[in-house]
């Protein structure tokens, strides 16, 4: 359950992660504490479990970071789609923005990260 929370957070789904943490996990942790002989022992066990879960999720996400660009490189179409281009700028290499909306800095960062993932920069 805790690993699911970590995965949700890794995908930016913080609200869902918060819900699982506040409801399901909170109940499970309360049960574990109740069934344990001492609260300190239960806390130590839970802390170890959470740490292990976080480490495994972090490793998995980092592994995906490496694997995805490699897959994208192999599966990438010859020409990326053209979705938006500012006036007076070359009509090429743009993607992902709402047509007609002026780009903001976060849009640029999105483009940079997309280029990084696709291995084209």
């Amino acid at each position: 359950m805790h690993r699911r929370i970590c995965f949700l957070r890794s995908e930016g789904r913080d609200a869902e992660a918060g819900q699982v943490a506040d409801r399901e996990l909170a109940i499970a942790v309360a049960d574990a504490r109740r069934d344990s002989e001492s609260g300190a022992e239960a806390d130590a066990l839970l802390a170890a479990l959470f740490a292990e879960g976080e480490a495994r999720v972090a490793d998995a996400v980092a592994f995906a970071e490496v694997l995805l660009p490699m897959l994208a490189q192999q599966l990438r179409p010859a020409s990326p789609p053209v979705a938006w281009a500012p006036e007076g700028a070359p009509q090429a290499r743009r993607s992902g923005r709402t047509p007609g909306r002026a780009p903001d800095i976060a849009d640029f960062i999105d483009e940079m990260l997309a280029q990084d993932r696709a291995g084209i920069r």
């Binding site: 957070r9 995908e11 930016g12 943490a21 490793d59 970071e65 500012p86 290499r93 960062i109 483009e111």
Partner: protein, 385 residues
């Protein structure tokens, strides 16, 4: 295997019951450190750090620091070094160069000495956050074509120092920093982010970048491993050839260059007073400095024209009006006029080359801090401690 970061991964919870982190806030929740944003131009010779809180436009710290770490030599008598520090940074390290082993963390724009880089980043952190308690997120400028190994080296050096990081090419950050946000919507204001060509001449690399309203691709950027340091090397070699055993250090040569650098026709006589062996001497350095600086022009110009020619025909006329030089190299006398004349002589349509101005050392860091303030939560790369 690059495992230093996990992109799109907000900080893992210390406790599963902690509220989900929302957008970066400078206000600390109970038991949680306040977020401090840093814009960092990690330069080969000089670095610039700006810091500020999220959700504001205030700049709390703005410092330019020589990118150098000094490790105090063994056997230095107590009291010689203030506080008997073991490591000095920046100007302090240079002032005590007799008593320290100087280490430059970077060479040609990328980290060359990881341990020194880590110590330097610790110093940067201390400058930005003297309390040592803030949760630091940093946008760091990298050379235009820095490869993944160079980027990974920065992330590894920053592990445990910054909590999150974003690496963005320097010339693009320079364009963001140069942009006057208060005038973007004014008629007549030429937004450098919409259509310009930036030339950022630093210590290790000269970076050229087309900025045309989208994030530059690899084809829009050129990084040349020839910049201020290479000019120093040429002048240093020429000085030793012309004036053998002159005893001038590279730091002195750099100071001479910074005071007298020029491009274009020879500016002789260019007499420079130096102290050699305790005696004052006047050296004629017109040719040495001119030849060294002109060799930079010979490398930049082909890269500049290749980027101009890569621009679309409907954007190139405006682009030619917006060629902007920044970085330490923008202080070379005549660099704007010589480049402009060369373009004009080669038939380019009404080119206009200008200098970024007095904030030339800060534009990359200003752009980096703007990017830090604008970055969405899921765009940061989390540094796994």
């Amino acid at each position: 295997m690059p495992i230093a970061t996990a992109e799109k991964q907000p900080a893992l919870l210390d406790s599963p019951f902690t509220a989900a982190p929302g957008p970066a806030s400078s206000r600390p929740a109970a038991g949680k450190a306040a977020v401090l944003l840093i814009g960092l131009d990690l330069g080969t010779n000089k670095s610039c750090v700006l810091s500020g809180a999220p959700g504001s436009s205030d700049i709390a710290v703005s410092k330019v620091v020589p990118s150098v770490v000094g490790y105090v030599k063994d056997g230095i008598v107590d009291g010689i070094i203030t506080g008997n520090a073991r490591i000095l940074y920046g100007e302090d390290a240079l002032r005590q160069m007799l008593h320290v082993d100087l280490a430059a963390p970077l060479a040609e724009g990328v980290i060359a000495r990881p341990e020194a880089a880590r110590d330097f980043l610790l110093h940067i952190r201390a400058l930005a956050d003297p309390t040592g308690r803030a949760d630091i997120r940093a946008v760091v400028g990298v050379p235009a074509n820095a490869g993944e190994p160079a980027r990974e080296m920065i992330r590894r050096s920053a592990q445990g120092i910054f909590s999150r990081i974003l690496l963005i090419p320097e010339p693009f950050l320079a364009a963001l920093g140069f942009r006057d946000d208060s005038r973007v919507k004014q008629p007549g204001y030429v937004d450098p982010v919409v259509n310009s060509l930036f030339i950022d001449i630093g210590g290790g690399t000269s970076d050229l970048c087309l900025v045309q309203g989208y994030f530059p691709t690899r084809d829009d950027q050129v990084s040349i491993p020839f910049a201020g340091d290479a000019i120093d090397d040429i002048i240093f070699g020429e000085l030793n050839r012309t004036y053998p055993n002159n005893g001038l250090s590279r730091i002195t040569v750099r100071e001479i260059k910074e005071a007298h650098a020029y491009v274009g026709p020879s500016r002789k006589p260019l007499e420079v007073k130096v102290v050699i062996g305790g005696k004052s001497r006047t050296l004629e350095l017109g040719d040495a400095i001119g030849n060294a600086c002109n060799s930079l022009m010979d490398r930049i110009y082909p890269a500049l024209t290749s980027l101009i020619e890569a621009a679309s025909s409907d954007s190139v006329v405006t682009l030619l009006q917006n060629i902007i030089i920044t970085g330490g190299g923008s202080q070379i006398r005549g660099i704007d006029t010589v480049l402009q004349k060369r373009l004009s002589d080669d038939g380019y349509e009404s080119p206009k080359v200008r200098l970024a101005g007095q904030d030339f050392r800060r534009y990359v860091a200003i752009g980096a801090l703007k990017a830090a303030r604008a970055a969405r939560e899921n765009q940061w790369q989390v540094l796994l401690a």
